[in-house]
C-alpha cells in the first residue's frame, strides 16, 4: 500500500524513547562500561599529548600505573586520598537532603566557606584566651551557625516568595567569597591578605592526623542514611520532592519542610567547614573549600542521593583528582592535563545516565511508537 511505503520513508534511522524501567544490574553495567570507556579515551588522549610534549616514546600502561599511583602508592598518599574522600563525602551528604526534596541548592560551596570562616573567626579572636576545649566548642557552634544562616536565607525566600533557589544559592557563593576577602583584609593589614596558620583551635587527633575526620564522616554517612530512609522528616522530604500537591494533600507543611531541610543541609555544611577549619587548615582563604561544593553536587547526583552509594562516587572522584595530579607530576606536563582527564571521565559518567534513562530504537526494530504528549 502506498501509505505504508510513505510511512517507512518518514520513519527516521533511529529514535529515542524513555525507558519505563531498567534493572539495577543493567544500569550499573552501563555505568561501569562508561567508566572503562572513559579511562581508555583518557589514556589515549594523555598518551598522544604527553608524547607530543615530551618528544619521547612512553608506554600507554605507564599512564595507568601513574594514575593508580596517585592515590595508593604510599601510605601518605592513601591517607590523603581517604581525607579527600571524607571531605568531599561530607559536603555531598550536606547537599543531599535538599536535593532529595528537589530543592536545587548549588550553594554548598559558599555555605561551607562560611562555616570555615565562622570557626576561624572564633579562633582568631579568642585563641589563647580560653581553654582549648572551650575554644573548639565555640568554633564548632560558630561554624554551624554561619553555615545554617547562609543556607536558610534562600530557603526562606523560596518558601515565602517562591524565588528560584538555584540562582539564589549560586549568588550566595560569591557573597560568601567576598565576605571572606573582607575579613582577610581586616585581619591581615599588611596587604598580603593571607592569614597564616593559627596557633590555637586545632582539633585533637589520635592514630593518624586524618583519622578523626574520616571516622566522623563515616558515622555521619550512616546517620544521614537512617535519617533519610527511616525518619518521619526524611519521609516528608521525599514526599515534598516528589510532588508539592501530594505533600499538601497529606497535610505536610511544605514551607516548614523546605526551611527545616535547608537548615539540616546548612548544619552539615557547617560541620564540613569545621572539619576543614579546625581539623585541617587552621586558616581561611577564599579557596578553603576549593570548588568541592560544586563537585559534591555531582557526587550526590551520581549516587542517586543515596548516602551509602555516595561513598563510591566520592571515592571515584577523589581518585580521579589525585590520579590526574600524579600524571601531570610524573610526566612533567602542565597542570591543565588533570583537568582534561577529569573532564573526559566525568563526560562519560554523566553521559551514561542518558543511556540509562533512554534507549535507542533503530528503524525496523519496532513500529512507530506512540508519542505521548
Amino acid at each position: 500500500m502506498s501509505e505504508k511505503k510513505n510511512n517507512a520513508v518518514q520513519e527516521p534511522l533511529f529514535h529515542l524513547s524513555k525507558r519505563a524501567q531498567i534493572q539495577p544490574w543493567k544500569a550499573w553495567a552501563i555505568r561501569l562500561a562508561a567508566i572503562v570507556l572513559g579511562l581508555l579515551v583518557c589514556g589515549l588522549v594523555a598518551f598522544i599529548l604527553i608524547e607530543k610534549l615530551n618528544q619521547k616514546p612512553e608506554k600507554i600502561t605507564d599512564f595507568y600505573y601513574s594514575f593508580i599511583k596517585g592515590s595508593f602508592s604510599t601510605k601518605r598518599k592513601l591517607w590523603k586520598f581517604l581525607k579527600n574522600l571524607a571531605i568531599l563525602q561530607c559536603i555531598s551528604l550536606a547537599v543531599t537532603p535538599a536535593f532529595r526534596m528537589r530543592f536545587w541548592n548549588i550553594g554548598a560551596e559558599g555555605q561551607t566557606l562560611m562555616g570555615v570562616l565562622g570557626c576561624i573567626t572564633v579562633a582568631f579572636y579568642l585563641g589563647g584566651q580560653v581553654p582549648n576545649w572551650v575554644l573548639l566548642v565555640l568554633m564548632f557552634i560558630a561554624a554551624l551557625l554561619y553555615s545554617a544562616v547562609w543556607a536558610v536565607i534562600p530557603a526562606i525566600f523560596k518558601a515565602k516568595w517562591n524565588t528560584n533557589e538555584t540562582l539564589f544559592t549560586l549568588m550566595m557563593n560569591y557573597v560568601a567569597t567576598f565576605v571572606v576577602s573582607y575579613f582577610l583584609v581586616v585581619w591581615v593589614p599588611s596587604g598580603s591578605s593571607t592569614l597564616g596558620k593559627l596557633k590555637y583551635g586545632k582539633l585533637p587527633s589520635f592514630g593518624h592526623e586524618y583519622l578523626v575526620i574520616i571516622l566522623v564522616v563515616a558515622l555521619l554517612t550512616v546517620l544521614l542514611y537512617i535519617y533519610l530512609k527511616h525518619s518521619k522528616q526524611g519521609y516528608e522530604i521525599s514526599v515534598v520532592g516528589e510532588s508539592v500537591r501530594t505533600a499538601q494533600y497529606s497535610g505536610i507543611n511544605v514551607k516548614k519542610v523546605i526551611i527545616r531541610t535547608m537548615v539540616v543541609s546548612g548544619l552539615l555544611c557547617g560541620l564540613t567547614g569545621y572539619l576543614i577549619g579546625a581539623g585541617l587548615d587552621q586558616s581561611v582563604t577564599t579557596e578553603s573549600v576549593g570548588g568541592q561544593g560544586f563537585t559534591a553536587i555531582m557526587v550526590s547526583w551520581l549516587a542517586n542521593f543515596n548516602p551509602l552509594v555516595m561513598l563510591i562516587t566520592s571515592g571515584l572522584i577523589s581518585m580521579l583528582n589525585s590520579g590526574a595530579a600524579q600524571i601531570s607530576q610524573d610526566f612533567n606536563v602542565s597542570g591543565a592535563l588533570p583537568d582534561v582527564i577529569v573532564g573526559i571521565i566525568l563526560f562519560f559518567i554523566i553521559g551514561s545516565e542518558f543511556f540509562i534513562n533512554y534507549q535507542i530504537i533503530f528503524r525496523k526494530k519496532g513500529h512507530e511508537k506512540e508519542a505521548v504528549k
Binding site: 510532588s243 494533600y249 497529606s250 497535610g251 505521548v372
Partner: protein, 568 residues
Amino acid sequence: MEKNLALSMQGITKRFGSVVANKSVDLDMYQGEILAILGENGCGKTTLMNMIAGIYFPDEGKIFKDGKEVVIRSPKDAFDLKIGMIHQHFKLVDLFTAAENIVLGVEESQRYNIKDVNNRVSEIALKYGFHIDPQKKIYDMSVSEKQTVEIIKVLYRGADILILDEPTAVLTPQEIDRLFSVLRRMKEDGKSIIIITHKLHEVLAISDRVAILRKGEHIATVDTCNATESSLTEMMVGKKVTLNIDRSEPVAPQARLEVKGLNCVDHEGVQVLKDVSFTANSGEILGIAGIAGSGQRELLEAIAGLQPLTSGEIIFNNPKKDKPVTFFHKSMARVKELGAQEAFHDEYGNPVSFDGMTNKQIKGWVESGKVLFREDEVMNLRDKTPLEIRELGVRLSFVPEDRLGMGLVGSMGITDNMMLRSYRKGHAGFVDRKKPRALADEIIRELEVVTPGVNTPVRRLSGGNVQKVLVGREIAFAPKVLMAAYPVRGLDINSSYTIYNLLNKQKKNGVAVIFVGEDLDVLLSLCDRILVINSGAVTGIVDARTATKEEIGLLMTQTDTQEKEAVQ
C-alpha cells in the same frame, strides 16, 4: 450554492494504548463556513483536531486538503497547509511582545524587521476588527488579548483553516460577543473555522453546521438552522444505557456534610465556585456531574482543606452521641481539650473530668470504652488545613483526580504510599513501616492489585492498579465521608466495577460518598442523587432514579440568561 470542500477526514482512528480516542471518524468541512464540534468531555474533540494541527499522527485514515491527500506530521506541516490551531492553553512567551510572539518561528525570506511585523500585525487586526497593540508584552495582557495574539499568529502565517479549542471558556460574555463578530468577518473573507465547544447556545449562535462526537465517534453533522438545544443534547449524550450496577436504597440517611454558600477564587482571580450549597447524607452516594473544569476539583479540595475560601461554611456532623471515645482518630491533646469542654460523660451519664489525671490514667480510662460523647460532634471545617481536619478526628477520605500527582507518591512503593496520611502516628521520630506493610499486603490481596512487589514504585503499575491502591488506602481509613473524583477515569471495565462495588460497600456501611463522574450513564446507575455543577454554580440536584440524561445534559450546559443575551 456552490460549496468547495476545504478539509476532509476519512476513517480517522487514534488510539492511546488501549483507549480509543477517535474511531473511524469521517468529517468534511467547506470553505467559508463555521463548523462547530460538539461533544461531552473526553469524547475526542481535541484529539481529532490535534491530528489536523500536526500534534498527533492518526493511526488510521486519510486527510484531504482542498481535495488532495496530505500527510501532516508536525505543526509546521499544518502551517504549510494553511491550517492553524488556537489551543485552549495559550503557547506564548510572556516576556515577548505580541508581534514578537506572532513572528516567532516564521521563516521569512527577507530580513527580520520588527517594524514591518508590527505593521502587518496591525493590518491584520484592522481587517478583521481585532483590538491589539503589537508592542504590548504578553505578561501585561488580559486573557482575551492573549487569545487575540494566538489568533493573529495563525492568520499571520496565512492560515485559511482556523481551529479554535474551547475559545470561549476563558472569556467574559462581552469578549465572547466580540470574538464572534471577528469570526464572522473571517468567514466572510473565505476562511474556514472550526470551533470546539460544549456550550449549546454558542453553537447555535455562531456556527453554520455542527458535528457531534460521542465517545470518539462521529455521530452526525447537522445544519445549525435545523437544530435545537434539546436535539443537540440528545445526540451529544446519547440514549440511556442501563449498567449492571447494583444500587441499594439508602438506609436511614442523615445529614453528614453540609456545605453552605461556598465561594472560592483561584490564584488568577477567577471565581471558580459560586454560592455552592448542598448536603451529603450518610449511606448515600451523591454524584457530581458537570463539564470538566466547572469547579468539581475546587469543590472537593475546598472540603478537604486544600482550597482557600472567600466565604461559606463546611459543617461536618459526627454522630457520636453516647458512643465511646477512641484514640483511633483523636489525639491525646484533642481528647483533653474536649474533656475540658465537658464533651464527655461516663456510662452512668455523669460528666467526665480529666482534672488532675496523668496521660496514662486518661489513656486507660478512654481505652476501657467507658468515656462517651455527650452530644453529636458538629465541626466547621472552613479554613482548616488537611492536618487540622484529621487532628479534629474528622474521618474524611479523598481520592483526588490526579492520582500520582496528588493522591500518591509515584516513586514510592505501595507500603510507603500507605503511610502518606498516617505516617505521623507514633511518638518517636522514626516511621513505622510494619502496619503500612500489613495494610499494603491486605490491599493487594483484597483488591487483587497486580504488582511485582510492595516496594515497586506505584508509578509503574497500570492505571487500574494505581487507583485500587489509592481507593484502598482511603477506605482503610474507615471514613465517614468519602470523596472520589473521577475514580474510574482511564480504567477498564473490570477495574471500574471493582471501584463501583467498593463505593457501594462504603455506602452500605453508612458512609456519605461523594462521587464526581463524567459518564452520565454511570452517574445515573450508581448514585442516589446527582448535583449538577456548571461554571462553579450548582444548577440543580436531581434524583438519580428518575432523572434523564437529557435533563442533566441541559443542566450541565445551560448558562445564565444574561450571558445568553450577550451572545445573541
